[in-house]
Symmetry: C2
Subunit: 297 residues, 2 copies
């Protein structure tokens, strides 16, 4: 698949997702207007929508209907967005720029930003549990899986390791675990929920390939993130660079040169691609994995 | 039912709930130890466990099994606890005392407290969605209902109104809506989830009585809270008093004298009791409603 075809495909998935996301905000209650504005400010801030694309594409790969995957795709994106809002708060990374715009709390204040994050997290589970196209059994399974990936044994666990790690140097094994939790777990949920929406059960042997793809692109994604924070362009990225060094964060560049890290990311990408290339219709997911490892933003 | 019998009954429900809550923390991962400690610090800080008692008692009232109600009872208590942790943060109410102990962020720092709240909220939905005793259909319905009560159209919506209200005087109608969202919605979820666990559907006519009970005790509870913040004893309450006045919060005492407010709370309590007194086995729930309106802590 050409990069042009990949971008078209990504754009189509993003459009479908954004249309579905907007529907969750169709009722306007004046009394909570600042909350709704704050949520939508971050939810529609021009994210790349990689996670919802993974959900939609894995659902298609296993012959499922888009309708059954969409609420899960939205739920994953809401959780991704909440994590960015909370992560940017002064008590966390204290970032003032995200996707080229002021961070949520810079615009709406800390209290509203905190609550907007809480509301997005809560809304994610409401969306996933109300997935009538997938049915109650798949929805309950998806909520439990998503919560487990987003919670203390997943993304939040990774954030705690990140915070605690600022006080000391992590070993490479610890750093790998941190990123597997902080980035890989939600990427994995995005892929697995797509497969669930297509009717696969968690015990299905094909799920191992889904998770192998997800975990490898998740780690490759994070390595490229570390490289870009060191070598990337602020205007292109839409966020501050050099933040990791300033916060004394543990990154892959504490262990590898930029070239070695890039090589490592490409090796992980090959492993991800090999896990799913045998399936008819996996071209977009393979191209996406390769693009993520080469991206400049 | 005597107050002694009520206290015994509440204590029994609290013990069962705490035993079930502990099981969610049985796996110890050293790498996330500060998160686990912070979550448990607030979750086991000696709360009265009124919400889980409501869930368990409504399940019993409609002939359900305790086992099916317990994960929902735990989920509601986790959400209640997360809301207290986030509410106490410096960017929100900036409280340093809760249940006679330093607030979570005073002990663990703001970043860990923020993430502990996030993890409790996430863990609540994982617990509710994994309720195998109730089954997938009831679990999916419970997650969607709980999320709707806890989210932007419920508790979080009430918190936004509370924050925005600090800048101006609310009308009595706005204050009633604020408290119906901020306190009533989660109380309502606690009661409704108990009934769901017993097999009632959301459209069941009996659910109207469940919600009538819940909404009236929720409002009465909040009125008594306002009275206690004005007249209560700091040592007995285990939290600062006079906070509402200091924060220029809108309270019922902006509209009523203490005597009128107490009378109002008792009238709501009678309405709550009348909604369910016809059911055999409703004695504990009736006694609980009456005790909540008379409580001094």
């Amino acid at each position: 698949m050409t990069e042009e075809a990949l971008m078209l495909s990504l754009h189509r998935d993003a459009t479908v997702t954004e249309h579905a996301l907007r529907r969750y905000y169709s009722e306007a209650d004046e009394d909570i207007a600042p909350l709704l504005q704050s949520e939508q400010y971050s939810l529609f801030a021009g994210g790349k929508r990689i996670r919802p694309a993974l959900t939609l594409e894995f659902c298609r790969l296993f012959g499922g209907e888009e309708e059954a995957a969409l609420p899960f795709a939205c739920a994953v994106e809401m959780i991704h967005t909440y994590s960015l809002i909370h992560d940017d708060l002064p008590c966390m990374d204290d970032d003032d720029l995200r996707r080229g715009k002021p961070t949520n709390h810079k615009v709406y204040g800390e209290a509203v930003a905190l609550l907007a994050g809480d509301a997005l997290l809560t809304g994610a589970f409401e969306a996933a549990a109300s997935n009538t196209a997938a049915g109650a059994e798949i929805s309950a399974m998806a909520v439990a899986y998503l919560a487990s990936c987003a919670g203390r044994s997943g993304m939040i666990g990774g954030q705690i390791m990140d915070i605690e790690g600022e006080r000391r140097s992590l070993t490479l094994d610890e750093l790998l675990k941190l990123h597997s939790l902080k980035t890989g777990a939600l990427m994995n949920a995005a892929c697995v929920l797509g497969a669930l929406a297509a009717g696969l059960h968690l015990g299905d042997p094909r799920m191992e390939q889904v998770s192998a793809y997800a975990e490898n692109i998740g780690l490759a994604f994070q390595i490229v993130d570390d490289i870009l924070d060191c070598t990337g362009d602020e205007a292109t990225l839409g966020k501050r660079v050099g933040v990791d060094a300033a916060h004394q964060k543990n990154t892959f560049l504490s262990f590898y040169s930029v070239e070695e890290a890039q090589f490592y990311a490409e090796r992980l990408t090959r492993t991800a691609v090999n896990a799913i290339r045998g399936y008819a219709g996996s071209e977009m997911l393979c191209a996406l994995a390769e693009w993520l490892a080469k991206r400049k933003l």
